[in-house]
């Protein structure tokens, strides 16, 4: 069972620079083929100020700042017993190469199912760009399997 006293905890803000080469690497790793995710001229032709981050890249911004794992480490959870349960994104603006993103994560819920065999940690993370504009909200559910369990 996880300590529900962590609900409401906010972690210190983090800052991540969105690097052009990293975006290309991410696009390659997901098998993307659209030139807008690789080529600055193709991105500019679509009205982007730089190569855009694909829709799920905001989770990588949080991951780069170790945010999901930090919560588990903070709570003393072995990451090999953890799994991503649910993830959602709300988009408010472009994230492009060269942006500097400031994020803030907090724990919004902790609950368990099956008599503690499965524990759920729910966090929300806000991402703002260098102009102070909100670009994305993330909601993450991490599942922690109890000892001896697992599927």
């Amino acid at each position: 069972m996880l300590d529900k006293g962590y609900v409401g905890k906010e972690y210190p803000s983090f800052t991540v620079e969105v690097e052009k080469g990293r975006l290309r690497f991410f696009a390659k790793a997901i098998g993307e083929t659209d030139p807008v995710y690789f080529d600055e001229d193709a991105a500019a032709a679509k009205g982007f100020r730089g190569i855009p981050a694909p829709p799920t890249f905001p989770f990588t911004i949080a991951m780069d700042a170790n945010q999901p794992f930090m919560v588990l480490e903070d709570m003393g959870v072995d990451i090999t017993r953890s799994m991503h349960g649910d993830q959602s994104f709300s988009y408010h603006g472009d994230i492009c190469a060269g942006d500097v993103i400031t994020g803030r994560q907090r724990i919004v819920d902790i609950f368990d199912k099956k008599g503690g065999a499965l524990n759920f940690i729910v966090t929300e993370t806000t991402l703002d760009n260098q102009d102070g504009e909100r670009v994305c909200d993330l909601r993450t559910v991490i599942i922690v399997r109890g000892e001896g369990g697992g599927q």
């Binding site: 997901i30 990588t60 990451i79």
Partner: protein
């Protein structure tokens, strides 16, 4: 009229409830892709790279990153809609995917709200056996009416 929307006739403005977008069929996930995605995504959890450590964590072996499969769903969306019109997306990781699995991403129009200019989609990433790996949703801004 609902049903599968053919590639050649895809038109955002004409989508109706129940329409299915052309699917995105992915090549089988291999361990090289998982290694690349670990590096590119920043998720270095050994359960995606190391069978022994995955088994020690109670899994049958190394598993694909859930966020890789969700990234495939993102590709399905950006293939059909300008990225700026994607207002939100998300999903539940319903089942595990393993190296060797071939994922197909599908989207079906759930709601069309012309007044609000919103399209609601049910999206799913499924494996070669038709089992849902991710069940999710997306909200798309419809182009303004002429």
């Amino acid at each position: 009229m609902t049903g599968a929307v053919a590639e050649a006739t895809f038109d955002i403005g004409a989508l109706a409830e129940g329409d299915e977008l052309p699917p995105l069929d992915l090549p089988a996930i291999d361990r090289v892709q998982l290694a690349l995605f670990a590096g590119a995504s920043g998720d270095h959890n050994p359960i995606h790279l190391d069978d022994e450590r995955a088994r020690a964590g109670g899994l049958p072996g190394a598993i694909a990153h859930g966020m890789l499969n969700m990234a495939f769903l993102g590709r399905l969306l950006t293939q059909r809609f300008p990225q700026r019109t994607i207002l939100g997306m998300g999903g539940r990781f319903a089942a595990l995917a393993f190296p060797g699995d071939s994922i197909t991403c599908r989207a079906r129009v759930k709601t069309v709200d012309r007044e609000a200019g919103r399209l609601g989609l049910d999206i799913v990433a499924e494996n070669q056996d038709g089992r849902a790996i991710i069940t999710g949703w997306a909200t798309i801004a419809l182009p303004a009416r002429a």
